[in-house]
Amino acid sequence: MNVNPAAKAYTNLGIMDEPETSKKSSMSMGLLSRNSKPKTEKKSSEPLDRVRDYVSSIRKARKQITNG
């Protein structure tokens, strides 16, 4: 039985390996089209989300090293 909290904390972050590609908006660019800007997603400032961001950025740099 693994009782190390670090392993649990690390594996339960829920970081996706590949970032989701942003969908292109299918809004028309005509003169009569609505002039609404796509909503920007609000970034959560919860500590867990910040930690997730830090880990994913370090992981990205780590993968660059391993992939050459």
Partner: protein, 167 residues
């Protein structure tokens, strides 16, 4: 009439010797670093400091899991009153990732410590199948004989009545 001995309460409470005045321990005081960022600002420069860096690489080469190393670091910092356990738990994934980064950068094979533990008592199906195959290859005749023994001739019950035909 003999008097019963009265219980004395003038003894230390079990475990009292291991306690101290409230607030006299570092972890009983307000922590030095209250946010994850502050804690990481404390950890990361230390991880890449020359003396610690070499020791970390040695530990990785010895096969100590990174999760164990990160847990030890944060536990020690909690005991020193640097941050709370909550902040330590939050900082641990970043420390582990940073350790992995250091290991990759130095080209060292390390154990992360998140792999599922292998149950040594449980034999996998593939191993059983492999052993069976080897056994069949080694003892084909013995298996044939055992198969023949298993085949039991089923004799039909012969009629034994008065009106039955005689064979």
């Amino acid at each position: 009439m003999a008097e019963l001995p009265t219980p004395s309460f003038d003894y230390p409470i079990p475990g009292q010797g291991m306690t101290a005045e409230v607030g006299s321990r570092p972890w009983q005081n307000p922590p030095q670093y209250t946010t994850v960022e502050q804690a990481l600002e404390f950890y990361i420069p230390r991880l890449v400091a020359d003396d610690v860096y070499e020791a970390l690489l040695d530990s990785m080469e010895l096969g100590i899991p990174l999760t164990t190393m990160a847990d030890s670091m944060q536990s020690a910092a909690v005991m020193q009153g640097l941050h709370t356990i909550d902040v330590g738990i939050l900082a641990m994934p970043v420390i582990i990732e940073m350790l992995a980064f250091i290991g990759d950068d130095a080209g060292i094979e390390y154990t992360l410590g998140t792999e599922a533990p292998i149950d040594e008592d449980k034999i996998s199906e593939s191993k059983i199948a492999l052993a069976m195959k080897r056994m069949r290859e080694k003892l084909p005749e013995a298996l044939e004989e055992s198969k023949e023994e298993k085949v039991v001739k089923v004799e039909e019950p012969q009629p034994s009545g008065l009106m039955a035909r005689r064979v």
